[in-house]
């Protein structure tokens, strides 16, 4: 029973973070209709910013959110403006050119990081990285709990932004129907640029709050991109509520898989869920929840 509860707790804590990662991807997917395979690489850039700030300037990793998020917001906007938007106007046989472009961008980002920081494993060790507290017999890692609540706060902020502000409404309108939104006077090009920036900033936040308990190397983007698209598919493309449920499901499935089946199958479980969801509920949770 204790093992079960402990697994449940660690799954939920991990799931909150995954939700934040998936939400950024989901936003980009919804507005632009493409899979952003550079998502993990953007997270990696955010993590390196945190690492650099902590190591060279001694700033607390949680405070570096205020540096990593704006810089990734800018980077995301530049990527969208100068590499992805020009592709919309070009005639080509395959519509997947934009997806391939994100692969190229991911390669460039990863290699630049390797060039600057080398391939060595890096980590941020703070005084509270290893701290835990107990409720009953269940141990909670302080850093993971903090990460969970920060992720929750960002998620709530995102909801408020998408539901209550004009800009948020324009983003949702563009995601629902680009042409109709254009006719209603929404500058859809500006919206795509902003959305990519927002998505990048969200994933940077996730990377930053993960830093105190995780390690870092240039190729870390790949596994997280994979996780992000599993979450996005689970939640239903373009659905932010779905992304949170998708994140929680993936977190729980990974935790239970690692405890009861074996550590080696950790990645496999996510992919199996992915294929099963594609087959049986192709719309993801969005379809089931009608949100």
């Amino acid at each position: 029973m204790e093992v079960f509860l402990q697994t449940l707790v660690s799954g939920i804590l991990k799931g909150g973070l995954y939700g934040l990662i998936g939400m950024g991807m989901s936003l980009i997917m919804g507005v632009m209709g493409i899979i952003n395979l550079a998502h993990g690489a953007l997270m990696m850039v955010g993590m390196y910013i945190t690492f650099a700030c902590f190591t060279y300037a001694g700033i607390d990793p949680y405070l570096t959110i205020f540096i990593s998020m704006p810089s990734l917001f800018l980077l995301g906007m530049l990527i969208q403006k100068y590499t992805l938007n020009p592709l919309m106007e070009v005639e080509s046989i395959l519509p997947e050119n934009q997806v391939l472009m994100t692969v190229g961008i991911a390669m460039v980002l990863t290699e630049v990081a390797r060039f600057v920081f080398s391939s060595d494993y890096k980590s941020v060790r703070t005084s509270y990285s290893g701290d835990t507290f107990f409720i009953g017999d269940i141990s909670f890692s302080v850093a993971l709990v903090a990460a969970f609540f920060i992720a929750l706060a960002f998620t709530l902020c995102m909801f408020w932004f998408l539901l209550k502000t004009d800009l948020g409404r324009s983003i949702r309108a563009t995601a629902q129907d680009k042409d109709a939104a254009l006719l209603m006077g929404v500058n859809s090009k500006r919206i795509t640029i902003l959305t990519f920036g927002l998505g990048s900033a969200l994933v940077a936040a996730a990377g930053t709050i993960l830093m105190p308990v995780y390690y870092l190397f240039p190729d870390i983007g790949g596994p997280f991109t994979r996780k992000a698209f599993v979450i996005t598919i689970l939640g239903g493309l373009g659905s932010t509520v779905g992304a949170i449920f998708g994140g929680l499901t993936l977190g729980l499935a990974e935790a239970f898989g690692a405890t009861y089946i074996g550590m080696a199958y950790d990645d496999m479980i996510g992919l199996l869920i992915f294929i099963l969801v594609l087959l049986f509920i192709p719309g993801g949770f969005k379809r089931l929840l009608k949100v």
């Binding site: 590499t83 395959l94 997806v99 391939l100 472009m101 994979r226 594609l278």
Partner: protein, 336 residues
Amino acid sequence: MRKYSPILLLFILILFPIAVRDHYHQHLMILVLMWVVIGSGWNVIAGYTGQVSFGDAAFFGTGAYTAGLFVTKLGISAWWGMLFGGIAAMAIAFPFGWICFRLRGAYFALATLALNEVMRHIATIWESLTDGMVGILVMQTFVSKVPYYYIALGLAVISVIGVQIIMGSKWGYYFVSIREDQDAAESLGINTHYYKMLSLNVAAFLTGMAGALFMNYMGFIDPEVVFSLHDISIMAILVGIVGGVGTLYGPVVGAFVMVAVHEFFRTGFFGFFKGIAALTGSDMITVFAKYVMQAHVLGFGILVVLVILLLPNGIVGDWNLIVKKIFPVKTREVTS
């Protein structure tokens, strides 16, 4: 000229190992020919049928592992893998396509990506069969590279001619119609699911054969090499895109360009900087050359970005555009 250039190219390729005795360049040409086969396979499913596959490594690795396991488990020659590797890849492609072709566009691309990852995990975890991360080591049949070269050339020629025959037949027209508009094709009475399956199986067969060739030639495989997303699946897409999507000779040009560029960056412009550094004795250039060689994957990534931005239909697809850019048509000025 256009009509005879393929025959001329083939003639040059046949004479190549006689003219160039250097092992390094022969090795590069074998890789180019292998990529021609993989690129042609990718082109059938993605370029002609429009179902972009991000998981060619699944078929490539299956072919390679089939050839390897023939030696380690059954004790027969790995060359049998050339045929059975392709068939094994089809055995993977068949159930996968059966299930996943109900998905469209980006969803299908994601499913192929997942297939790639699942296959890599299976090869890693199923240690009793595949030896996991240890990989499979097979003795090479020939010491010289020339026999491998001609086998690879034969395979490449077969795949290009095979694709040409398929695309000239009724199948080919059905494939293209599915790419252009699946719903319209369906409403005209084409069984799109069936023809997409056919297309995927052709692609899987070619890619599986290339995988078996890789096993025979390299003599060593492990899951990270043959099921690699970056080095196989993405490279296959790049070969297709750079050469030209949906063109017969696109993969040929693409394979040549991609392998050349890869080596070009990896060796620091073929030792160009090292030569200059030795000539002038300047330390700065030596350091610079070292950085250039370290950044070879970066150069690769930048190339990808540039090609997609500037040549969305590839070198063969946009050939007329390139010619126009380089040799602008001279118009005579009319003076009154």
